[in-house]
Symmetry: C2
Subunit: 246 residues, 2 copies
């Protein structure tokens, strides 16, 4: 749950249809009634990833039970660019940072990948999804990025669709600056691959560089942590090919 | 203290001169002797922000007392671009994220500013400086960004040097995309101003937009948290005008 301007925004799993009321779950009910002290007749903005944004009125309010009724659709559903983040598992703190920031930066999907040098904490996928939902509410999106359960990077590459181009943030140092590398390419489905703190193994590097549609890029002369590299690469993609172009 | 490749990197406050030994402080001594189990004759990389990078040999090692001796200068001192981050005080977690990431992204100075809508935790400047030092060690820089103690934003602007251009990440939505706005400008001293979560007050916005050399920019259609905006803006600056151009 999050505030944007004066309006609380909520993601819900229910269909949104005019005058078709639905109940919030316990946590959202408690947040609206106890934390935000909302009352019958107050309004919130709601989205579900399919039906656009709706202003909903609070129809019933008790401590644990709030019923919302969609009144006005304020925006049709919109989808952001088709941009997948392939993120190697890293420690919990930076991984959570990446989920939050990638959501703000408008990715459509986040695929968690295990690499040869992955050294990660046990992950709680429900917690990662909750972080993505809260970030989507806060940033003003109308959908929540899909988070795919961890899979081996080599398995992902085995079934790679060659029409999806892959930006590969390569630490080896002989790649073009990302902004220059993206200057000559086309829009379309893209992915950004970010490795673990220890980098990719030589076998992985060779495999990725040999992939049709892979674009190795450099992110400057300093060594970036994995979460920083993810945020920087998504920023440069949005600026060059995505919805930051204005 | 941090590892880059196989070499531990340390920032020290001592002059670095060939064969002129100096002692490490307690914390660094303990780290090298107890945590990393280094012994007499082992080598580490050391920098002090003035004398470049040196390979130093461990001359004495006890649990609390390590003496290093500079042997070979592996790089002369280099300075990154002249880029100041003016960062409104935000909560501790995101503020610490910004200090770490801004260091990785090569800023020369970080000025902490209080704005009309600042709503911040009490800050521990010593802790912020320690974060900057660790990030500088990790990222491979040869200096540590200066962190200036918090000052009122309006005081900063009162004494603003007009040859330093100021990127102003404006949430109002009528500004040019940052990448386009930077396409037509010159290198030189720059600053990036990031506001607090609540944005700037109308009086602040008017003041900043009226400043000679201010460049209002947009960072895409979604609402970004302050730490995300800082990382994205510094990334785009480095790509357009800084040392990411290759």
């Amino acid at each position: 749950m999050s505030y944007v301007g004066d309006m609380i925004r909520l993601f819900v799993p229910h269909p949104l249809l005019a005058d078709t009321a639905f109940p919030l779950d316990d946590a959202q009910s408690r947040y609206l009634s106890l934390v935000m002290r909302r009352a019958v007749g107050d309004e919130v903005e709601v989205f579900n990833g399919k039906d656009g944004a709706w202003v909903c009125r609070l129809d019933q309010v008790t401590k644990r039970h709030v019923i919302l009724c969609p009144k006005t659709q304020t925006s049709p559903q919109t989808e952001g660019p088709d941009l997948v983040l392939l993120m190697a598992l890293v420690k919990r703190g930076p991984l959570e940072t990446v989920i939050e920031k990638a959501t703000e930066l408008g990715v459509s999907e986040i695929w968690l990948v295990q690499t040869d040098r992955t050294n990660a904490d046990r992950i709680r996928e429900d917690r990662l999804r909750a972080i993505a939902i809260e970030a989507a509410e806060q940033t003003g999106r109308l959908n929540v990025p899909l988070i795919r359960s961890p899979a081996r990077l080599d398995r992902c590459l085995d079934t790679w669709s060659t029409d999806r181009r892959l930006i590969f943030c390569d630490e080896a140092g002989d790649s073009m600056p990302m902004q220059a590398a993206l200057g000559a390419v086309q829009s379309g489905p893209w992915a950004v691959l970010i490795g673990p703190e220890g980098g990719f193994s030589p076998a992985e590097r060779a495999r990725i560089r040999g992939l049709e549609g892979a674009v190795p890029v450099s992110l400057g002369p300093r060594i970036l942590r994995a979460d920083t590299a993810a945020i920087s690469a998504l920023t440069l993609w949005q600026s060059a090919l995505g919805d930051w172009r204005g």
